[in-house]
């Protein structure tokens, strides 16, 4: 029985993937994301020059300069290289907190929903307090109190997303738990852990996954935003949000260059959102 369940579980994700292939917008977004990720991952080999090498005489070269395809920044560093390297930390800011919150939030939500009763109520009421904080404010408050630093902002973002994912996981678990087949599994002697793993997790993973993909762009915008405020990555490290901040001084001289890092955040975040929309409709889950 358990092996049958697993096979059908896999084929469900296969169907979703198959469905996704018929969504041209989502497919295009996925391709774009793949390109951005590859450019960031292979930046050390692809980047035309050193992203840290400053040059006072080549400050703020315009876009299309012979040596610098996308110009240079306020310290004469090659923009194209910095944008490629910058993607590493910015994308990490988008993916890592969501992934961590996905793992932790799903576990807490499964536990709370499956145990039910008073314990569930206590956990959910405690998390309600976090809902009383607007997410940007909570992220800024935590990383502001902890002090600047990338690890601190990763931690703050993870903490911001956990309550939301717990809520999704908990509500699905609570619905599923009451169904007859769970009762049947329990009567046939299955332990709680294997019931959760085999019968509950499969139902919960879908909705939580959809919700989490929708958080990717939020996470990246917020993470880069923290760096923009000076709370995240520290200079001279290349990161899109921080680059946007330091280039604010160049806004009058080379506005196009000053706007470039933000455009990268924008494009990536649109692609994340369109892909999330595609995943949602492929899995046929209403918002």
């Amino acid at each position: 029985m358990s092996s049958r369940a697993r096979i059908s579980g896999r084929s469900y994700w296969f169907v979703v993937f198959h469905q996704l292939k018929h969504e041209p917008v989502a497919l295009f977004s996925a391709l774009l994301l793949l390109l951005i990720f590859l450019a960031a991952i292979f930046a050390p080999w692809l980047a035309p020059s050193d992203p840290y090498a400053t040059s006072m005489i080549h400050r703020l070269q315009p876009i299309g300069s012979p040596d610098h395809l996308l110009g240079t920044d306020e310290l004469g560093r090659d923009m194209l290289s910095r944008l490629m390297f910058g993607g590493r930390l910015s994308l990490l800011m988008g993916v890592a907190p969501v992934f961590m919150a996905f793992v932790i939030g799903t576990s807490i939500g499964l536990f709370a929903g499956y145990v039910g009763g008073k314990i569930n109520m206590i956990i959910m009421r405690m998390l309600d307090v976090f809902y009383a904080f607007p997410s940007v404010l909570l992220a800024v408050a935590i990383s502001g109190a902890l002090g600047p630093g990338m690890m601190n902002s990763l931690f703050a973002l993870t903490l911001v997303f956990i309550p939301q994912l717990v809520r999704v996981a908990e509500s699905v678990t609570t619905q599923v738990r009451k169904l007859d087949y769970i009762e049947a599994a329990r009567m046939s002697g299955a332990r709680s852990f294997s019931i959760i793993r085999v019968h509950v997790l499969g139902n919960v993973l879908g909705p939580v996954f959809v919700y989490a993909t929708g958080l990717l762009s939020v996470s990246m915008i917020l993470g880069s935003g923290l760096s923009f405020l000076g709370l995240g990555v520290k200079p001279p490290e290349p990161e899109w949000g921080l680059m946007l901040n330091t280039l604010r001084s160049a806004i009058f001289k080379e506005p196009l260059i000053a706007a470039l890092p933000g455009a990268m955040i924008f494009v990536t975040s649109i692609a994340f959102n369109l892909l999330a929309d595609g995943v949602r409709s492929a899995m046929d889950i209403k918002r």
Partner: protein
């Protein structure tokens, strides 16, 4: 209805207490001794000892929280390390400016979000729908701090239509409803309104499209009611959800304006928070977070209370 309001009020109290607890603990989240957050690092030993007693830091943690809460309820949020002024006074000036910005941005975003969403929902699948969907994806995807920069580049640097910085002429922090001040509001408000615009367009579009397919609308149409009357019915049915989403968005705007305020040097809470963080002015950070979150809790409560006034079924649930 009375019991519903009472229940909502009772429910809000533990949430509000939780918010105060988290705000209180922020000081302990800061690295090092919490006293370092209150006293300057070069303070003499006896000053530190005196401060320790004055702030009750020699007492156990739960008692400290109680004392802090007691003072906070009376409007005493401590003293700013950087300026030496009472935190409550600083925060209230800033909150006023943030409320002006968030209120106007929210009003624009909610109005156009409802309009666009309703049009897109009504002409489901048409070009209006496609434009609205496109705009809402952009609205939720755009990093608003970047949008603020782009608008500054276009409308301040190139066209010189609107000022790029501050809330009034000569960098005045005092907000007035006159032409000179309003000009400063335009760019930050447009930047900020994009956030609720996207989400509200999305929500209203889905709601309206869903509602128009329902049997009661078909029944109304079959009886020969005009479009305007049907619109009234649909509006009344979608209102509670739209209200809930709008309330949430308004709250997010109060928090989310931090980044936009930084871009435009708008003298609001975001600006205050940002300066507080870099001066390690933890009392100001704590006070600002506390006040903003209390606004958010109150806003949610108001939405909860208004909702059953529109749809009485909600009070019975």
């Amino acid at each position: 209805m009375f019991f519903y309001v009472l229940r909502r009020l009772l429910y809000a109290i533990p949430i509000a207490l939780g918010v105060t607890l988290i705000s209180f603990l922020l000081v302990y989240l800061a690295p090092g001794d919490p006293l370092n957050a209150i006293a300057p690092s070069d303070a003499p030993a006896e000053t530190i000892a005196a401060l320790k007693v004055a702030y009750g830091l020699d007492k156990p943690l739960p008692m400290q929280y109680g004392l802090w809460l007691l003072r906070a309820v009376q409007g005493d949020l401590g003293v700013s390390i950087a300026s030496g002024r009472p935190v409550a006074a600083e925060v209230l000036t800033a909150v006023r400016n943030t409320l002006v910005l968030a209120g106007i941005a929210g009003a624009i975003g909610i109005f156009f979000g409802c309009l666009l969403g309703a049009l897109a929902g009504y002409w489901h699948g048409s070009w209006i729908d496609r434009i609205a969907t496109f705009l809402s994806v952009i609205g939720v995807s755009v990093p608003h701090y970047w949008l603020g920069m782009v608008l500054t580049i276009i409308f301040s640097t190139w066209l010189a239509w609107f000022p790029a910085m501050g809330a009034g002429p000569g960098g005045s922090a005092e907000w007035l409803w006159d032409y000179a001040h309003m000009r400063h509001l335009v760019l930050p408000a447009i930047t900020l309104c994009v956030i609720p615009l996207g989400i509200i367009t999305r929500t209203v579009r889905a709601l309206v499209a869903d509602m128009l397919d329902q049997e009661f609308v078909i029944a109304l149409r079959a009886r020969g009611l005009s479009n305007a009357t049907i619109f009234k019915h649909v509006a009344k049915n979608t209102a509670p959800t739209v209200l809930a989403v709008s309330g949430l968005q308004l709250g997010y705007l109060m928090g989310g304006s931090i980044l936009v305020e930084t871009v435009f040097a708008w003298p609001g809470t975001g600006f205050l928070l940002n300066t507080a963080i870099f001066q390690r002015d933890i009392p100001v950070l704590q006070g600002t977070i506390l006040i903003l979150c209390m606004f958010f809790v109150a806003l949610n409560l108001i939405v909860d209370i208004i909702q059953p006034l529109i749809d009485p079924r909600m009070a019975r649930a």
